[in-house]
Symmetry: C2
Subunit: 358 residues, 2 copies
């Protein structure tokens, strides 16, 4: 087992990474004596809910099982969870454990953030995407018809339990979606790690446990460091949104049903690299390396059919990074070095959009 720490003063917390930990009672020892309830979804429940309940000495009636899928990440689901928390008579000292992927983590975290003005919660991420990205850093929220993650809160978990065993049962499509975020980390801040991914991508796709563990640790360490430096995304944390402005437009356009978040991020990374190269910041050969790695991960590199440049621009205007009405994008200066900027030639953005929407 490996322990990382997200350093945020009184709100610091550990990320425990290892195999089999969600089933061990001592993983939860920090919360002993407190009322814990578990939120999960139907697909995750069939594999892991029993083990988590046993470790926490809870009964199935003390968990809420939602349907699976990104379409659940809504205010309506949040209200259902909050109603349940009130029915369970949870006090401010209760703890909510979110067992699942990014949807359950974001939704559960949001409900913990606004239940009685904030209670403690535990992230137990069971997908690669959630383990390397969404479970760490306290971004919680739900989607709105007008935009992804438009309603939410910063609310840090008290513990992240990344159980590597859960990746064994991960559907291949979910594994690949997680790899998009993994690639993102190499691109935005670590050229060596990007190179490592080029070497070991096949092993990761084949669920090589050692390589997966290395990737999860690497990404969590980067995320923990960035969040520790800039919890509220006033500067460096924004770089974690590499590819996400394009991705959120795709997800909003498709209504959160058909595309997995990581799949949209994959296209977004290609678009960000393409634009960076058109702007003369990123070498053409490096933009090609991005597209190649994304393709090798069997992730999409094309936008949804029928999506137009105008639609992209309309949806991107709602991006949370818009400031004083101006769109800001995370772009690449090289592999391993990203910057957030509002100073780019809009004509080049139009070229990128036209290219991908052709």
């Amino acid at each position: 087992m490996r322990t990382l720490e997200v350093r945020l003063g009184a709100r610091s917390y550990p990320i425990l990474i290892g195999a089999g930990m969600l089933a061990r009672a001592d993983s939860y020892s920090h919360f002993s004596g407190r009322r814990v309830r578990v939120l999960t979804d139907a697909s995750v429940a069939q594999h892991y809910l029993g083990a988590v309940l046993d470790a926490l000495k809870l009964t199935p009636a003390q968990a809420l099982v939602l349907p699976a899928g990104e379409t659940q990440k809504t205010m309506a689901s949040a209200e259902r969870v909050l109603d349940w928390m009130l029915q369970e008579q949870l006090g401010r000292d209760a703890v909510l454990a979110a067992l699942g992927g990014g949807v359950i983590g974001d939704l559960g975290g949001f409900c913990a953030a606004i239940y009685q003005r904030g209670i403690d919660f535990i992230q137990i991420p069971t997908t690669l995407l959630a383990q390397v990205d969404s479970s760490v850093g306290g971004k919680t929220g739900v989607n709105h018809a007008r935009g992804k993650n438009m309603i939410g809160a910063f609310h840090q978990p008290r513990l992240v339990l990344a159980d590597l065993d859960t990746l064994k049962t991960l559907p291949p499509r979910e594994l690949r979606a997680g790899l998009a975020e993994v690639i993102k980390y190499g691109l935005l801040g670590d050229a060596q790690f990007f190179h490592w991914l080029e070497q070991h991508l096949d092993a990761l796709l084949q669920l090589d446990a050692v390589r997966l563990a290395e990737a999860v640790e690497k990404c969590c360490a980067m995320k923990a460091r960035i969040v520790g430096e800039d919890e509220r995304e006033s500067s460096s944390r924004a770089l974690l949104n590499l590819g996400h402005t394009f991705a959120h437009a795709i997800e909003t356009h498709t209504g959160y049903g058909d595309w997995l978040h990581g799949e949209a991020v994959a296209v977004g990374l290609c678009m960000a690299a393409d634009l960076s190269s058109r702007l003369g910041a990123l070498a053409t050969v490096d933009a090609a390396r991005v597209a190649t790695l994304v393709q090798r991960a069997q992730l999409p590199t094309a936008v949804p059919q029928g999506m137009t440049p105008a639609r992209f621009l309309e949806l991107m205007r709602h991006d949370k990074k818009v400031q004083a009405g101006q769109l800001r994008l995370v772009l690449l200066e090289s592999i391993g070095h990203a910057v957030l900027t509002a100073e780019f030639d809009a004509a080049k953005l139009n070229e990128t959009l036209a290219h991908f929407c052709a």
Copy 2:
């Protein structure tokens, strides 16, 4: 004009108290160049919305006017406000101004807290209750059928503008409701101020501008100090809930429609004083002083007809101060000195409930 400061490091903010300030452009100079939108309700709008819009150089289309009343403090209203904010394409650098009483302030603050994970907001309290209590300190939220303020967030405003002129148009019932919170401050932390209230209550009821200004300043100064010491209510801030556990039970029981919050607090203060005296902590003569002052303010001292001790206990179990399943109450040791405790004789609580429900 008087300026007080709520000291919370990077989240510190001023409370400006004076006459006519909501109509002055320079009250908002800190936010110049940013997109500001105004949330208010229909009763407040007819008196003050025009002046606020003029000062901010906004049009009526840039305000959202909700129906008035505590029944609006719901998740459904919050969704309506959030939809409007998205329609207005507010970015993370936008500012929401909440113009109104406690309902608009709590609801607007909550929406600002969860819109794009938190944007800045301004409190412009137009009732005595909001000026002396709810607009300061960052407690935001909405009610739930199972309990008052059960859904919410801590989110500090960037500015509180307490315009004393607004009290001139305050309906007498709202004025009296505000006085309940004013009395609370004397009881929980300042015996001299309680004595001052005994002397000047009639002047306050007659809207004596000088006395009202003194009372608002006194209460805001106490609240600013307490919030600066204990933003998240881990200790001293809980004392501000004197009377509120009883009051919230009344409000939940009556469905948030018939009783004003301050009216429920008035009864709650009497009940807390009664229990404190039965427990031998507060002199009987001082409990009588509390009831007398509440009565002189023409506030209710009896619980809603038909409300039983069993119903009180059931609703009080949901109180946010419950810890490890145990009810904690703010009680009085003397006038001017309150304590939060779980250690009280439950039989005495039953006596108080029986007495008030008789």
